[in-house]
Amino acid sequence: MPHTVYEKLKNNDPSIPKSKILEALESQDLSLEFNDALENEMVLNMGPQHPATHGVLRLLLSLDGETIKKAVPDLGYLHRGYEKLAENMSYHEFIPHTDRLDYLQPVANNIAYTLAVEKLLNLEIPERSKYLRTLSAELGRIQSHLIAYGTTVMDTGGLTPFLWAMREREKILDIYDMYIGVRFTTSYSRIGGVAQDITDEAIAAILKFTDEFPGYLKEMRDIIERNRVFVDRLEGIGYMSKEDVINYGITGPILRATGVDCDLRKDSPYLAYDKVDFDVPTTTESDSLARFWIRFEEMYQSAKIIRQCIEKMPKGPVNALSPKKSLPNKEKIYTKMEELIHDFMLINFGQNPPVGESYGAVESSKGELGFYIISDGSGKPFRTKIHSPSFCNLQAIPVMLKDSLISDSVVIIGGIDPVMGEADK
């Protein structure tokens, strides 16, 4: 006597109605269809909700067996219209919005935006705030590269290094908490300086971090450097020739992995980068493994820059003393009439830069991040264009994915290290 539903189904018990799918499956002559499927090209939809795409990137892959013949990226799933928003608010108001572009390292976005505005306003910032910005930007670079390190290893199957990377990243977030006041969306850089001065407590924490960090980096390197599973998954994958990389306008670690030592920090030094000593690591392999190790080497260099910043940082004010352009000190607003008026004017009507155009760019962890601002002389920017490295680098995906396997697409995307908040604006 059959008891379970499954047994009843197996014995074609008429008391259980057959589902349509089951009927369809039974009525098919499988041997014929199977051969047809192998000869056909298949279109696979990857994303936007896919853990390996590191965000809401959607890829349409045209497959021949397991080989990718064509890939078409589809963007816009995180498009929030920040360029339109920027046109409708004052220069100062837009700073918190820049945090949400590249949310893995918000500080670089703040700095790039304020640099562009300061160029427009013709405003010189104090020496100490230049060092403070440099320091926080390099902490941000480590923060972003740690994620790139962890996720790349996790994509190839190793979970431990990801947890190690998150542990180190947590320390950076704690340091941010100490001297910026928030852990994640920093808004640290202000027009004419920075939000607040660094505390002794934070300096001690940073020194402790930079002392220990190279040791941890060595551990992170040792666990994967000679690991066959890891190296075989990345070596020679996602190759792109030097000419292609240049022609596709790619910047950052991907460009440096082709042997071009292009780095805005060296080429056109901004902030305090001309006063610190560091190297720009390059290799010539131009595959996912090379990009991975370039990011890794950059973390050493960043730790070196942070150390030098703390040693060389001069004493002095952190905000420019320019009442018509830069916000006054908070304590003075509550006690002095003059400052109160300036604060009121700046908050309500904004800075009024002269009519003109300006471009401010920094080397973020992913490449050149720039803001092109057009001013019509009013308190709001007439046009703000965000030049985001992730958007430009993603354009290379069809070239890198061509003739590779589906399983390799995961590490290729990891090698580009896109952040969709930035790519979609």
Binding site: G76, E83, N247, G249, C392
Partner: protein
Amino acid sequence: MNEERLNIIKEKLNGLGVEFYDVNGTPGIITSPENVLKICDILKNDGSISFEQCRDTVGVDRFAKKNRFEVIYSLYSLKYRDRIFVKVIIEDNKKPETPTLTNLWNSVNWYEREAYDMFGIVFTGHPDLRRIYMPEEFEYYPLRKDFPLMGIPGSINLPKK
């Protein structure tokens, strides 16, 4: 960019009717859709100028009666490590058109798609001129100055609950 290099560029572009403007220290070239291909060809392929990379395209809506739309290309030279902007001013307000630069730099492909998506500027000869951020069936150009900040109700078909 130093004086010497700027003079070389001025010399090479002589006779093409270009004007120069300044983006806080970085030079910019103002040109028209007719000449932009010739100018960019010289800027990229001439060995003594050599702007190998096009890093960005900025669309601008001036919202004026004349010369409403502008396109600004940001070029970077890896050989000399400096930058130049090329601004194309489009005279036609109703049907803004300018030739595409995809034949010179592959990177321009997506940048021009973005400018088309946001401003409705048509790049003639572009191989794949589709919208990039907004859905295909969207009818408006959101970064134009006459598009309201709050959007237009009903312009995007949302899935029914």
